[in-house]
């Protein structure tokens, strides 16, 4: 029992204030790393404050002091026990070339599932247009896709009309924000055990298949490739990466791989899901620029062979990046 409360508080308060000062410094910069001396001091002061709280807990006279000390100990506890793996300052370049591709490869099977769902949609959409051209009205989401592809190609190639002339920057910004939002939606729907995400991926595939078959049947395959490849080779994989994140989340919810409580399973996948979302966002920013400044400019302004070559180079580079980037760091870690 504390015999003289006032004396006890007067003696201990400087130590509590010291602990508070260290914790305040940490709170001001979430990435800040403690030096060894600071860490030792923090640990010492935290243990002392914990002991003081234990002594005060049986003593009703100072509820405010007890509450103050409780908060201090709670903050110290969070700092001491919760900083593993989080104290390293965020390094954007390292994240881009190591963390993200490594995370992508770790969840390769979820990505394969996204490809499969999208391909099923592509086949369904393509077949619907091939066997029932009337389905176009209900399948195509944008009005400019509902007409005859030949008319559109003739119009675009005449150079008389460019829908985004003078608005490339704002069009690009709208594309980026819209596509990132859609990808976030796909990820969030992972919380429906992946059902919502699977439907969105399938629907995306349906539209893609319908547009592709519509243009190919109209004999405009080259235009289609020149139009879609430059941005689609990044945009479509980005949405698939979003789907991958959603299925990682859904996998943790279902818990078929790890026999642990839900909160433990979720905790394991949260950093990976956040990383995959970030990766998809980076890809979509790039795709937004390309779609606005390159994809929408057709022959004769930009020859189709140049656009198709650009798209092919992008897909090779992306494949190489996702397959090999960060491998050496990955090997070192294992």
């Amino acid at each position: 029992m504390i015999v003289n409360l006032e004396k006890f508080i007067a003696e201990e308060r400087p130590k509590w204030e010291q602990l508070g000062a260290i914790l305040d410094r940490q709170a001001q910069d979430p990435w800040r790393r403690l030096s060894l001396a600071e860490a030792r001091e923090l640990e010492r002061l935290y243990r002392r404050a914990s002991a003081d709280l234990a002594r005060l807990a049986t003593f009703s006279a100072e509820p405010e002091t007890r509450e103050y000390l409780e908060r201090l100990v709670a903050r110290g506890y969070a700092e001491i026990y919760g900083t593993r793996n989080t104290s390293q300052r965020f390094r954007p370049w390292h994240w881009l070339i190591v963390t993200w591709p490594t995370t992508f490869r770790r969840h390769w099977r979820a990505f394969q599932l996204c490809i499969a769902l999208t391909l099923v949609g592509v086949v369904f959409g393509g077949a619907a247009i091939a066997f029932d051209p009337g389905a176009k009205q209900s399948l195509m989401p944008f009005s400019h896709l509902q007409g005859d592809p030949r008319d559109r190609v003739a119009r675009e190639e005449s150079g008389k009309e460019n829908r985004i002339d003078g608005h490339q920057a704002s069009f690009s910004a709208e594309l980026m924000s819209h596509n990132i939002q859609v990808t976030i939606d796909v990820v969030a729907l992972g919380m429906t055990y992946g059902v919502g995400s699977a439907i969105l991926l399938f629907y995306n595939g349906v539209i893609l298949g319908a547009v592709a078959v519509d243009y190919i049947l109209a004999g405009e395959g080259t235009f289609l490739a020149g139009w879609l490849l430059p941005h689609g080779t990044i945009e479509i994989p980005a949405i698939l990466v979003g789907g991958q994140a959603a299925f990682v989340l859904a996998g943790a919810l279902l818990g078929h791989e790890v026999r642990k409580p839900l909160w433990t399973r979720m905790r394991v996948v949260v950093p990976d899901v956040a990383t995959l979302c970030g990766g998809a966002a980076v890809m979509l920013v790039w795709a937004g620029f390309v779609e606005s400044f390159l994809s929408q400019h057709h022959q004769p302004v930009v020859p189709y062979w140049a656009k198709i070559t650009f798209g092919v180079i992008e897909v090779i580079a992306l494949t190489w990046f996702l397959r090999f980037s960060g491998r050496s760091a990955e090997v070192k870690q294992t």
Binding site: N4, L5, E6, A27, P30, R47, S50, A51, A54, A57, T58, F59, S60, A61, E62, P63, E64, E67, Y68, E70, R71, V73, A74, Y77, A78, E79, Y81, G82, T83, N85, T86, F90, G166, H167, Q168, A169, S170, S172, A173, M176, S177, Q181, I184, V187, A188, L189, M191, T192, G196, L249, L262, W263, M266, V270, P271, V273, A274, T275, C277, G278
Partner: protein, 253 residues
């Protein structure tokens, strides 16, 4: 249905326990509305400043506007919760804080996750899914919180007691009985002491009957904690007895 808990307790390896009060859905809605206004105001301000740069072209302005809205609406909460230890401006005003459900420091991934999954929580409209989830969840977690392993707590203000209210000139018969004072200090919980303190400070605002009843209950509780010789509480009202107890509990003479 799981019972909603008011507090969330954590026991440290050092054997010390501390608890957090779970934020009510209403407080969270209020914080959300404030944050919505903050984002709207920040975007309006940004758009206004951008008008000054119209000379650079309307296309550039349009692009900057679209990106600013997207970054503010999606990024503001993430940035604020990361930079300000789990608090946005709305949460600061409402005294709320996002924290790891184990009491640890929030990780950046947790913050990103709980904010990205907001899309599911708002479905089909007006946070229906999130609202229902947090209502039925014992820790008031919406889906985003559940996935990220976070809880939202309310940090109550702790006003310092105005001890001058107790330091009256009246004689306090308890002061000379140290064993009784020691037993009272040991056995009165801080919650009870605070409740009694609030009864004293708000006594004037109560109607006479309620005031009498409340102090009778508190005085009976204090008397039940330790045997008090009748001559120490004889001839004084229950309210005065409660004040005497608080006087010896709060003040160290």
């Amino acid at each position: 249905m799981m019972a909603r808990t008011q507090t969330w307790s954590i026991r440290t390896p050092e054997g010390v326990s501390f608890s957090f009060r779970i934020a009510s859905p209403l407080l969270r809605v209020a914080a959300l509305l404030i944050d919505f206004c903050v984002v709207g105001a920040a975007w309006s301000l940004f758009s206004g400043i951008l008008m000054l740069f119209a000379i650079l072209g309307t296309d550039f302005m349009g692009a900057a506007n679209v990106i600013a809205w997207f970054v503010l609406s999606q990024g503001y909460r993430i940035w604020a919760e990361w930079a300000w230890g789990g608090r946005t401006l709305g949460k600061r005003v409402m005294r709320l804080r996002v924290m790891d459900e184990r009491g640890f420091r929030l990780s950046f991934a947790q913050i990103v996750m709980r904010n990205l999954l907001r899309f599911v929580d708002v479905l089909p409209a007006a946070y229906c899914v999130g609202g229902v989830m947090s209502w039925f969840n014992a820790r008031g977690q919406r889906l985003g919180d559940l996935a990220a392993g976070t809880i939202v707590v309310w940090e109550a203000p702790t006003p310092k007691p105005n001890l001058a209210l107790l330091r009256g000139e009246k004689h306090n018969s308890l002061r000379s009985h140290q064993p009784i004072i020691a037993r009272l200090r040991q056995s009165i919980s801080s919650e009870t002491a605070t409740a009694a303190w609030q009864a004293v400070t708000r006594g004037d605002k109560l109607d006479p009957n309620s005031r009498q009843e409340i102090f009778a209950v508190i005085a009976a509780h204090f008397r039940s904690l330790t045997p008090i010789p009748t001559d120490l509480s004889e001839g004084i009202s229950d309210e005065q007895f409660v004040k005497n107890v608080l006087d010896v509990v709060f003040l160290n003479r």
